[in-house]
């Protein structure tokens, strides 16, 4: 059977009440029993010692002379003073019951002598007050009974002739205990009922907001993020309600953000596709060259770009650029640059072409957007490889003759910084031979991170190009193995920047 919070709370509180009351009552009643028994002992002892001489005197004065009316009056007075007294007897030192309140009601006893025997006779003949305990022991008044032990009767030597026996009743104690027990039972019952009622009310206060929260949560789960709960209290439940409302609000915002992000992602994806369309889908066939290229953006849209602008079977102009930063702004700038190079591709002078593109970029893009770029040309007839660098990474040149890789000179200024960079640009002609390999790349290659401390680095790049160049493999294979080496080095560490490579092998 499943119990709700309210039922559990009610059962728990009721059980707690019963246990607490039972333990407390048991302990309290036991203490009270002992306390009352001790009270009776002390009060009765003082009482019997005080009244015994008077009882004996009145016996002599009245009942010994048959005047039972006045004697009964005096005895009634004694009983009236002590509610714990059950019987009074007057006995002679010789060992005879002279008066017994339980039977000698209407006159002096006139029958055969009622003799005392055994231990009682011994008690009667003692000089001190003695008491017979319920356990059977006979104690002197100087010995205090064990805690809570009950007394059957006291024997008090009143005069040389008479002793008085006082029978003690614990009926009052038992009745008071019984009344106490009854009262405690009622109290426990009352507490249990009160506990049930309180737990009913309190659990209502607890479960009602929880029910409201459950309802609101169900609405949230169905996408209604406007669902709110109003809890008028100042306790934890109110905090929970406030937290729920905040959570609901945040969840709504998060979902909106997610949708927006998805939309942006889709747009970025689209932008990436568009950008990828700008990248040559096929490599041109140019005499004397083997080409291989790759571009791996760090995000959907990258800031790297390259393109081949073929102006004949024997001539090829191509470039590889890298816009500062990456992402959409860099992608837009690179796209603009790509379009510009395409538009000005009729220009044969690399410096002029570069400067034209620079001028447009400087004017049309943000002042903080720059682009490094290496613009290259190849003339198969002349077997001439030239390039103009606008602040781009140095080209790694593997010379087959030397079987060694090295860096070609750097130079120039990044595009978009100043309006005219013509004076800063220098065309470099590179003497190449068959088997040479030229690797043009963006900074994402040497700056490929393995961890937060170590990058791939130029040394490793140069060494790898040297190693691969010496293998006599195709440009495509060089590209593939070089890329693999870079990726192996990164070992899955997050790519921080776009990686772009163009591998040119002289054949």
């Amino acid at each position: 059977m499943k119990l709700n919070i309210r039922s559990k709370l009610m059962i728990a509180i009721s059980a707690l009440m019963v246990v607490v009351f039972s333990v407390a009552a048991f302990s309290f009643i036991n203490e009270k029993k002992i306390e009352m028994a001790e009270d009776i002992y002390h009060n009765s002892l003082a009482f019997v010692k005080l009244t015994a001489p008077n009882v004996a005197f009145n016996y002599d004065l009245y009942l010994a002379e048959n005047s039972f009316v006045y004697f009964n009056r005096e005895i009634a007075g004694v009983f009236e003073q002590n509610n714990d007294l059950q019987g009074i007897a007057v006995v002679s030192y010789a060992g005879e019951f002279l008066y017994d309140s339980s039977v000698d009601i209407d006159g002096k006893y006139e029958g055969a002598p009622r003799l005392l025997e055994g231990a009682l006779l011994e008690q009667v003949r003692r000089e001190d007050v003695s008491m017979k305990m319920s356990g059977g022991a006979v104690l002197s008044e100087s010995v205090e009974p064990d805690s809570g032990e009950r007394i059957e009767y006291f024997v008090v030597p009143a005069t040389e002739k008479y002793s008085v026996i006082y029978e003690i009743s614990y009926d009052n104690v038992d009745q008071r205990i019984a009344e106490m027990v009854e009262r405690i039972i009622y109290l426990a019952l009352f507490a249990v009922l009160l506990g049930i009622w309180l737990s009913f009310v309190m659990s209502g206060k607890l479960t009602r907001p929880i029910s409201m929260l459950v309802t609101a949560a169900a609405k949230v789960s169905q996408g209604d993020f406007s669902s709110r709960v109003v809890l008028e209290s100042s306790d934890e439940i109110a905090y929970l309600g406030a937290a729920f409302n905040k959570m609901s609000e945040d969840l709504g915002s998060a979902v909106e953000a997610k949708i927006f992000k998805e939309k942006v992602s889709r747009e970025l994806e689209l932008a990436g596709e568009i950008q990828r369309e700008l990248i040559p889908q096929t490599l041109p066939k140019v005499n004397g060259l083997e080409l291989a290229s790759v571009i791996i953006p760090a995000e959907e849209v990258g800031g790297d770009m390259y393109d081949f602008l073929k102006s004949g079977e024997d001539r090829l102009i191509f470039y590889l650029g890298d816009v500062t930063g990456h992402g959409v702004p860099a992608g837009i700038v690179s796209s603009i640059a790509s379009s510009l190079f395409f538009a000005f591709s009729d220009e044969q002078d690399l410096k002029v072409l570069m400067n034209k593109v620079n001028q447009v970029l400087q004017v049309k893009t943000m002042s903080n957007m720059f682009m490094t770029l290496c613009l290259m040309s190849w003339c198969s007839e002349e077997r001439k490889f030239s390039y103009v660098s606008a602040g781009h990474e140095q080209i790694v040149h593997y010379k087959a003759k030397d079987a060694k890789a090295g860096l070609l000179p750097a130079g120039g200024m990044a595009l978009g910084m100043v309006l005219d960079i013509s004076t800063l640009l220098k065309i470099e002609d590179v003497q190449v031979e068959s088997g040479d390999v030229l690797v043009i790349y963006s900074d994402g290659v040497p700056e490929s991170w393995k961890n937060e401390k170590e990058v791939y680095g130029m040394e490793r790049l140069i060494a790898k190009v040297g190693e691969l160049g010496g293998l006599g493999i195709s440009a495509e294979e060089v590209k593939t193995l070089l890329l693999k080496d870079v990726q192996d080095f990164a070992a899955g560490y997050k790519q921080q920047d776009d990686i772009t490579m163009v591998v040119v092998k002289i054949v």
């Binding site: 004065l61 009316v69 009056r73 209407d106 006159g107 002096k108 009622y186």
Partner: protein
């Protein structure tokens, strides 16, 4: 449908819970503060208490001490103090009292007490009532109050009573003085009840019944019975028949012969010493009475045993009942010896002397026994059986040599008997007995405050009038037997007076 049943069960559960909660709370917190009349149900089934007495009241005037009259009057009037069941004096119209010196008592009177005629009780009512009892021509309490010297009014609710000599029995005496309103105390005769008691008389059918109604302005706790019928039947057969027919709830003075029969019928019986003693009294005004040999001869000729049944009727040897203070256990047993009695007659030359004996008409058994025995010893008894009124007249005028008299020791003290029936000139000294030394002994006993000395003095008086002076021949005492319908606690008082508001129904 299920839902409806569920709601009904739920409402029943809540309703039961609320009821249980309030019931427990009520038992726990309120029950002690609500005065439940436990007897209400029983009283509703027994709205009227009916008591059958063996006598009729003679008057409503509290100057009378006739037992039958007093029995009714104590429920109508109140005294300053009231004896409880053991004859201990309790507050009634006096709330407290004490001795200023050996002879001066101070009484504080109860306030806010109303008489049945709506007048308010104060000290002047007490003064007027005591004075009336002392001075009224028909007062039978004169002897009882001779010890009072002066009444001193301190304020409206404080009275001092000064006695001629220290009077240890003053409270007992005052318990006999029923208080009237002062404005009525001067009347010669009181014909209407005007007490402060818990009942007032609403109807009085002489020779049949006196009907009481509860006095709702009573200062104390109201009686359970709104109405009480005090029936009276002198004829024992008639008395028993009325009771057995269910026309009475309590029968007082059950004839001994029918005790067994009533027990068999399921009535609850209770035998109580009557403290009433019957005896023959010699008339000392006549020569025969003055002759000690005559008195001795008659005493020896009386056979007590023929009157006693050993169960309810007991022979006695003195003029107060065993149980009364002053009873002298050392007085010898009565001697029955016709031969010795005859010798006394012969020695005193009383053979053939006529002995006049007046008896109440119901005492023919006793009369015939006396006739037989006195005849046997040579005397010539003439027995006259008289109506009550004539008998009382004969008693007061001393018209017989021997009377049959009874005396009830209502005060539980033999001084009562000596003061009223033995002291020279006492109103009920029907023996006309006068002896100075006896008077002196009585006076000594009445003044003595020390209980032992007073007891000894009273016992001396008893010995003097029984053994030395032979003022009469003690005959017997009897137990007064009550029969109750099994509705009541069979409670009887030592003085055998029935206070209607003390009758308790069984729980």
């Amino acid at each position: 449908m299920n839902t409806n049943w569920g709601k009904i069960v739920e409402k029943l559960f809540y309703g039961t819970f609320v009821l249980l909660f309030f019931w427990v709370g009520f038992k726990l917190f309120l029950i002690d503060y609500i005065d439940f009349d436990d007897d209400v149900e029983t009283v509703q089934t027994l709205p009227e208490l009916r008591v059958m007495f063996p006598d009729h009241p003679l008057t409503l005037d509290p100057v009378s001490v006739d037992p039958g009259t007093r029995q009714r009057l104590v429920n109508i009037y109140e005294a300053l103090v009231k004896p409880d069941a053991d004859l201990k004096m309790r507050p009634a119209l006096a709330t407290n009292w004490g001795l200023i010196d050996d002879r001066t008592w101070e009484f504080s009177l109860r306030k806010n007490v109303k008489f049945h005629n709506t007048s308010v009780f104060d000290v002047m009512d007490v003064v007027a009532s005591i004075t009336r009892m002392q001075e009224h021509e028909d007062s039978e309490l004169k002897e009882l109050l001779t010890s009072i010297e002066e009444l001193e009014v301190i304020d409206d609710y404080t009275l001092r009573i000064k006695t001629f000599e220290p009077d240890p029995l003053l409270l007992q005496r005052l318990s006999m003085v029923l208080i009237l309103p002062s404005e009525l105390a001067y009347l010669d005769e009181i014909n209407d009840d005007v007490g402060t008691g818990s009942y007032r008389v609403v109807q009085w059918n002489e020779e049949d019944s006196m009907i009481f109604e509860r006095f709702d302005d009573y200062w104390g706790q109201l009686s359970k019975f709104e109405r009480v019928s005090a029936l009276g039947r002198v004829n024992p057969v008639e008395r028993v028949n009325v009771f057995a027919a269910g026309e009475a709830d309590i029968l007082v003075a059950v004839p001994h012969e029918v005790v067994g029969a009533l027990q068999e019928k399921g009535f609850v019986m209770n035998a109580n010493p009557s403290l009433e003693l019957q005896f023959l009294l010699f008339n000392f005004d006549y020569s025969l009475g003055k002759n000690k040999s005559f008195r001795k001869a008659v005493s020896l000729a009386v056979d007590q045993s023929f009157l006693a049944d050993g169960e309810f009727v007991h022979t006695v040897k003195q003029f107060v009942s065993a149980g009364v203070f002053g009873f002298n256990p050392r007085i010898a047993e009565h001697e029955f010896d016709l031969e010795k009695a005859g010798d006394f007659v012969d020695a005193a030359r009383l053979n053939g002397r006529t002995v006049k004996i007046h008896l109440f008409k119901n005492l023919k058994v006793l009369g015939e026994e006396l006739r037989e025995k006195l005849s046997e010893i040579g005397l010539k008894p003439i027995i006259s059986y008289l109506e009550l009124e004539d008998y009382l007249h004969s008693l007061e005028k001393g018209k017989s040599d021997i009377f049959f008299v009874g005396f009830r020791g209502d005060l539980g003290d033999s001084a009562d008997f000596f003061d009223q029936a033995v002291k020279s000139g006492a109103a009920q000294n029907f023996a006309n007995f006068e002896k100075d030394y006896v008077d002196e002994l009585i006076a000594e006993a009445s003044m003595e405050l020390d209980s032992v000395s007073r007891r000894n003095a009273l016992q001396k008086v008893m010995k003097a009038i029984v053994e030395d002076e032979l003022i009469g021949v003690p005959l017997f005492e009897y137990d007064l037997i009550y029969a109750f319908r099994d509705l009541f606690d069979a409670f009887v008082r030592v003085d055998n007076v029935i206070y209607f508001d003390e009758i308790k129904l069984k729980q």
